[in-house]
């Protein structure tokens, strides 16, 4: 600035504004605002998620009395006992088998139905409603319904088998079949939700992409492979994650259909936790199992996200 040029006062003020300072202030402001918006959910999560989580961790290092109060600190003994227990091994095996039975089947069937229901046909709305209808049915109602379907003598399934000349099967009483029966029930129950989410994913694909492919002379399966599947990969990924977590946490249908039996063949991990805690009053052991379940789900989800990042196409 040359001295001969008198500068008006306001202009000097302008030059003296410290941009760094202002920026810092703005950052603090926006951080505070963000926190305020987050506060309600932080409080809720804290009270109903984080507190129970830490309490469970804490409990898993103790023995408890029947009222759930800690009595003796045992360190890792609960974990050591648990991993030595054949019942827990059985429970783990059943859980992983159950996940293996339900997740791929649910997703493949739901995807097939969704692709069908996404065709522009007359009366497709009716089928969409039917396919998604299981979403509105509660676990209890669905389980009771399937309880009758699986009934050894008056059950629909065995009647059909009888009609075909096949010996009737004790679906819920035969250790070979019980897990499969529960899996079938679960697949049926989850189908509605999975179908609906996948259909939503399919419908959000721009129709221009298919038109362009039509002009290029692409066939139905080429379009399915090169456009549809990649374009719904984020949805598919979401659905797979949710279905796996759901499968690990299955409880209601087991409680109603088999109560973990026969011979612990359907004693999935959550049911096992429930039995430890509320039938055997071993809150320490139950907590240890819960922590193991938490870690398994955490690892599965992390693996999925790591894999997903590479394969999934986000818009």
């Amino acid at each position: 600035m040359s001295m001969s040029n008198p500068v008006p006062a306001s202009s000097t003020d302008f030059n003296e504004i410290n941009f760094e300072n202002v920026k810092k202030k703005q950052k603090v402001m926006s951080f505070t605002k963000g926190m305020l918006f987050l506060l309600p959910s932080i409080v809720l999560f804290g009270a109903f998620l984080f507190y129970p989580l830490f309490k469970t961790m804490y409990l898993s290092f103790f023995l408890t009395n029947a009222r759930g109060e800690t009595t003796v600190f045992v360190g890792l003994q609960n974990y050591i006992d648990m991993f030595a227990s054949p019942i827990f091994h059985q429970s783990m095996k059943s859980t992983f088998l159950f996940v293996l039975y339900t997740v791929p089947t649910t997703i493949i069937i739901a995807l097939l139905l969704a692709v069908l229901a996404n065709e522009k046909l007359k009366g497709i709305g009716f089928f969409r409603t039917i396919f998604s209808s299981t979403m509105g049915i509660s676990v209890a109602a669905a389980s009771v319904f399937w309880l009758y379907m699986f009934h050894p003598s008056i059950g629909f399934i065995n009647q059909i088998l009888g009609f075909l000349g096949v010996e009737s099967i004790g679906w819920l009483t035969d250790p070979k079949w019980a897990l499969i029966a529960v899996a079938v029930t679960t697949i049926w129950m989850n189908l509605g939700f999975t179908f609906l989410v996948l259909l939503g994913g399919l419908q959000s694909i721009d129709s221009y992409l298919y038109e362009s492919a039509d002009i290029d002379g692409a066939g139905y399966f080429y379009k399915l492979r090169r456009i549809t599947i990649p374009m719904i990969s984020p949805t598919l990924f979401f659905v797979i994650t949710v279905t796996i977590i759901n499968a690990f946490q299955t409880f209601g249908q087991i409680d109603i259909l088999t109560q973990g039996g026969p011979q612990n063949s359907t004693n999935l991990i959550v049911y096992s936790i429930y039995r430890e805690a509320f039938t055997n009053y071993q809150f320490g052991t139950a907590s240890a199992q819960a922590i193991v379940l938490f870690i398994i789900i955490l690892i599965m989800t992390i693996i999925q996200f790591k894999l997903g990042e590479r394969k999934v196409h986000y818009q």
């Binding site: 038109e211 362009s212 039509d214 002009i215 290029d216 456009i227 196409h313």
Partner: protein, 370 residues
């Protein structure tokens, strides 16, 4: 027999009022046919009907002498550039371009060769590994063009393929597309709302408004003999100057303001006492000499384009623009003499808007051009 023949084609979405009406049209093999019209006039709809993406509500469509109303797009052997590009967001530029060839299981070597050629031509060689979302609007548009070009289908439909490019690139691509079309002998149906593009590229132009054909013809014909007021104002930039006029006692009175005596050799008796609209192109109103018929007008706006000057003045309620060659240092508010001659005017019926008589002078001009 044209390559594409449309007979009384109409289109209505959801059985409501027609978007297109009575389209009768023939497009020859190897022709560069341009469809112009304002937004919403039905250009894309017509193109999509040719492509087979849109049901034809009425009429017959033939491609190379076969009725194709019922045929799906893939059996019509054509390529298309979509107005919104329709690129596959999850595929790279290369995969996007090769999508069609891949679907048709073309030979890998041919694919590579064509890919390289096309990418070269469209200036995409550097971008082949990118995803569409990592491209600018103009680059995406070029990928869309490349995708259509690479298939080398005999019929190519383009829906505003250059709308997002900058002026220089657009001029370049205009020439590239034109050259390619000539070299491969493609039949091209090209939609645009840019009349400059239409004039410079088309062998023939069709002007569409509200789903009705206004005029079909060669660019020069549309310019010189617009068949109605819509075409007159739509084709040419700046647009044709219009004014209400009546012919009385051998004088033409325009907008009750300009009075132009008729010259002897112009024969306009049949127009006596009709309600007319006259139209005159900007370049036909030069700065007046003493020995000419001149009108003195007050300038309300001046635009310098470098090699020519646009001068606007009011005639009644209309704003007219004259285009003068060279750089004229005139000011707003100046009164200048302008030569306005009846022989340069087109005459339209005020009621119907249809052309009654074209400008007589244009015949002379055509001779000059040769």
């Amino acid at each position: 027999m044209g390559y594409i023949e449309m007979m009384d084609i109409s289109k209505s979405y959801n059985k409501q009022s027609n978007v297109l009406n009575g389209i009768d049209l023939q497009i020859e093999k190897g022709e560069f046919f341009v469809l112009v019209g304002p937004s919403g006039s039905g250009k894309s709809t017509l193109l999509r009907m040719i492509a087979g993406l849109e049901e034809i509500s009425g009429g017959t469509l033939k491609i190379s002498e076969k009725i194709v109303n019922h045929l799906p797009p893939k059996d019509r052997n054509l390529s298309m550039v979509f107005q919104n590009y329709a690129l596959y967001p999850h595929l790279t530029v290369e995969q996007n371009i090769l999508f069609g060839l891949n679907a048709k299981k073309a030979d890998k070597q041919i694919q590579q060769k064509r890919l390289e050629e096309t990418a070269q031509m469209m200036g995409l060689s550097e971008l082949l590994k990118r995803k569409p979302r990592e491209l600018s609007g103009g680059q995406r548009q070029r990928v869309a063009l490349a995708r259509a070009v690479v298939s080398e289908a005999p019929l190519c439909l383009m829906d505003e393929p250059l709308s997002n490019l900058d002026a220089k690139l657009r001029a370049n691509m205009r020439i590239e597309i034109r050259r390619l079309q000539k070299r491969l002998g493609l039949t091209m149906v090209y939609v645009t709302h840019d009349q400059v593009e239409a004039m410079t590229m088309g062998d023939r132009i069709m002007v569409l408004n509200d789903g009705i054909i206004q005029q079909v013809g060669e660019p020069i014909d549309l310019y010189n003999k617009p068949s109605n007021l819509f075409v007159a104002t739509f084709i040419g930039s700046p647009k044709m100057n219009l004014g209400k006029a009546v012919l009385q006692d051998s004088k033409l009175i325009i907008e009750n303001e300009l009075t132009i005596p008729l010259e002897q050799f112009v024969n306009l008796e049949s127009l006596e006492n009709l309600n007319l609209v006259i139209g005159i192109r900007a370049e036909h109103m030069p700065y007046g000499d003493e020995d000419q018929q001149v009108q003195n007008v007050e300038i309300v706006n001046v635009e310098h384009l470098g090699n020519e000057t646009l001068v606007s003045f009011e005639v009644g309620t209309e704003l007219w623009t004259a285009k003068w060659l060279g750089q004229w240092l005139v000011q707003v508010g100046d009164r200048v003499p302008v030569h306005i001659s009846v022989e340069n005017m087109c005459f339209f019926d005020e009621e119907t808007g249809d052309l009654i008589q074209e400008a007589t002078f244009t015949h002379k001009q055509e001779v000059v051009k040769r």
